[in-house]
Amino acid sequence: MAKGDVKLLTMWASPFCMRVKVALAEKEIAYEEIEEKDLMNDKSDLLLKSNPVHKQVPVLLHDDKPIAESTNIITYIDQVWSAKPLLPECAYEKSRARFWADYIDRKVHPAGRAIWSSNDKDEVEVAKNNFLDIMKYLDGTLGDKDYFNGDTFGFVDILLIGLTSYFPAYEKFGDFKLEDYYPKLAAWITRSWARETVSESLTNPEKITNFVIMMRKMFGLE
């Protein structure tokens, strides 16, 4: 349903942008994607004007009013386009979803980055174990449910699945397979990627792994 003009400022390798794209797809919201050409060296005027504090993507522009920070954007989308809610109805369950959102936001991507951003064997081992500890908690909260949200794909699912294009790169440089440790979580990843809203919104993991290799070259690790 059209509720004004929607634009999304993105960068193809940003998992935080991928999350928002999944949410927009789940809500069937039409939008214009505006990709940053060179996020690292030459940010666009539109981005700098829309997010002067962090100067980062994603930024949602709803009738030219900017909203920044991916979790914040998705919460906003859920409220304005209220059909098919992504967050649970009950106040307590909502708080649980927000708790896990905060946990995922603080922990997952930095922990994954630590795995590939070093060549020191001991450091990589520590980073891998730290990442797996985080996965343990997520696997525990998923339990036997199909999705973090229960029977339906929801808020926490979207926040986590958006980060998973990077997981094969973590597995490659950490020399491990998530399914060997947490098969339920690995199954959730597969189940979620089977959704068109996810597979069409997330960047191909192979492309991301090549991006990580390029970053490693930049840091003198390759």
């Binding site: 504090v53 709803h62 009013k65 909203i67 920044a68 920070e69 914040n72 954007i73 919460t75 906003y76 409220q79 304005v80 106040a91 307590y92 909502k94 708080s95 927000r98 708790f99 905060d102 946990y103 908690y137």
Partner: protein, 229 residues
């Protein structure tokens, strides 16, 4: 009792204080359970097994942790003074600024204090504080407008803890010259009854900072940096 509210925490924690202020604003009666961070209670470990940190709010036996998550929960669960705007866009702005205070402002301000005003830390702290200063438009008593909201509450550390640390250290970070609107906001905020009733006595904070700066306590430092929010 079905509706019983308990708050697990410590007086000196600015994150616990946020929740106390929110409870006061909503006029909710609660029982305060004091935690010893070096000897965490079985209840705390049960109610916050992931982070094992304060504050934890217990409502009708159900635990909620992370201060900003707790405050959002309170706004969903209880009527009374709204802690967030109703309009979705304004709500998103409030959430953005509360997270900014949490993720950017407080850590660098704390770091600048701890490093005794090291040049690079100070410069970065001033950069972030300037964003806050700019948010207080003309005529705005609080970040929430006429009334306190989530952003004001999230910045309690700036309003109260920073002043005590500045006095203990003899360092001025948030001066009236540089931050006329922010310093006025600090005065307005800490003089609100609901806030006053939630703040620890200033002498306690002064004593803590003086002692800490004399003999830096890495336990407290790490607990704070890892954040009890």
């Amino acid at each position: 009792m079905a509706d019983e509210v308990k708050l697990y925490g410590l007086d000196g924690s600015p994150f616990v204080c946020r929740v106390k202020i929110a409870l006061n604003l909503k006029k909710i009666d609660y029982k305060f359970v004091v935690e010893d961070l070096r000897n965490k209670s079985a209840d705390l470990l049960k109610y916050n097994p992931v982070h094992k940190k304060i504050p934890v709010l217990l409502h009708s036996g159900k635990p909620i942790s992370e201060s900003l998550v707790i405050i959002e929960y309170m706004d969903d669960a209880w009527k009374g003074a709204p802690l967030l705007p109703k309009d979705p866009y304004e709500k998103a702005q409030a959430r953005f600024w509360a997270k900014f205070v949490d993720d950017k402002c407080i850590p660098i301000v704390f770091k600048a204090i701890v490093s005794h005003g090291e040049e690079k830390d100070l410069a970065e702290a001033h950069e972030q504080l300037q964003f806050l200063e700019n948010q207080l438009n003309e005529g705005k008593k609080f970040f929430g407008g006429d009334d306190i909201n989530l952003v004001d509450i999230s910045a309690t550390f700036i309003a109260y803890w920073v002043g005590a640390a500045e006095e203990a250290l003899g360092l001025k970070l948030v001066s009236k010259d540089k931050y006329p609107k922010l310093t006025e906001w600090c005065d307005n905020y800490i003089n609100c009854q609901a806030v006053k009733d939630g703040l620890p006595p200033r002498e306690i904070l002064l004593g803590f900072f003086k002692m800490w700066f004399a003999t830096p306590n890495s336990f407290v430092y790490n607990e704070f940096l890892n954040k009890s929010s």
